[in-house]
């Protein structure tokens, strides 16, 4: 079962041609995907690039896959722009997390692309953001900080975190909810979000 899942994950190879290869895509669909690119592509790429640690190829694959998924959901998407954007970010994040898990599961295949040597234009700004967020995490209650740490920051699923924290998965989810709200409130007071 496990092997089968792995196989499926690996076989979903991101490719710049994936839109064309999908047999379900017709000309009108291509126009919609094109419109999604127009509307969100560069903004999404900017966000995704940061989340992928500035790995451009990976980032482009993620954007491609996100917009194809958006096209698949086009019928039920709410077209309120703020929400649509938030939803796209969520889709992209799931794709990135899948990628991170695959990469850390196969450490020998992680390429040493020398990305650390690539200088990021807004590095100092990012360092400040990292500091401000770290400090905000420190100000949270232990429970709140811990649940953010043991889930998102350590690439753990809800169930994995539930085991580590010895609490039910439902509790992880609701604790995470209050933790993220508290974090956001704090950052908002600091003028970060």
């Amino acid at each position: 079962m496990l092997n089968r899942c792995k196989y499926v994950a690996v076989s979903r190879k991101p490719s710049p041609e994936s839109a064309e290869l999908d047999p379900g895509i017709n000309e009108q669909d291509e126009r919609l995907i094109g419109a999604l690119y127009q509307a969100f592509g560069s903004r999404l790429l900017h966000h995704v690039r940061r989340a992928t640690g500035n790995d451009h190829h990976w980032a482009e694959d993620v954007v491609q896959e996100t917009l194809v998924r958006a096209w698949r959901h086009a019928g039920k998407l709410n077209h309120e722009p703020g929400l649509l954007w938030a939803w796209l970010l969520t889709v992209a994040r799931r794709i990135i997390i899948d990628g991170r898990r695959r990469r850390s599961a196969r450490p020998e295949e992680v390429e040493d692309t020398g990305l650390d040597a690539v200088s990021v234009p807004d590095e100092s700004e990012r360092t400040i953001a990292a500091m401000v967020v770290s400090e905000a995490l420190e100000r949270l209650s232990v429970e709140h900080r811990e649940v953010i740490e043991e889930t998102y920051l350590r690439d753990r699923t809800i169930n994995e975190a539930a085991e580590v924290l010895r609490i039910p998965p439902g509790t992880v989810k609701s604790r995470l909810y209050y933790a993220i709200r508290a974090l956001r409130r704090d950052l908002k007071e600091k003028g970060v979000t």
Binding site: H47, R50, A51, G53, K76, N78, E80, G82, L83, W85, A86, W87, L89, T90, R93, R94, I96, I97, S104, P107, R126, T127, A129, A130, V133, S134, L137, I148, T151, Y152, L153, R154, D155, T157, I158, N159, V172, K173, S174, L176, Y177, A179, I180, R181, L183, R184, L187, V192, T193
Partner: protein, 64 residues
């Protein structure tokens, strides 16, 4: 299962729900204006947390 999964909006925004919960939550999201508002508000938070994780050594916390 019986109560609406409002609290899952944070796990959803962080991309942490498994496939099944994700689908359940998205069905809820389409109907729930509160969760739509919250998701929009929380959209920045994962990026901000990425600043922290990118700042850490990539080796840290990895097996091996």
């Amino acid at each position: 299962m019986s109560s609406p999964p409002h609290h899952e909006v944070a796990a959803y925004a962080l991309g942490l729900l498994d496939q099944e919960d994700n689908e359940v939550f998205e069905r809820h999201l389409v109907e729930c204006v509160d969760c739509q508002t919250e998701l929009t508000e929380l959209a920045d938070v994962p990026d901000l947390l990425d600043e922290v994780r990118n700042k850490r050594s990539p080796i840290e916390g990895r097996p091996g």
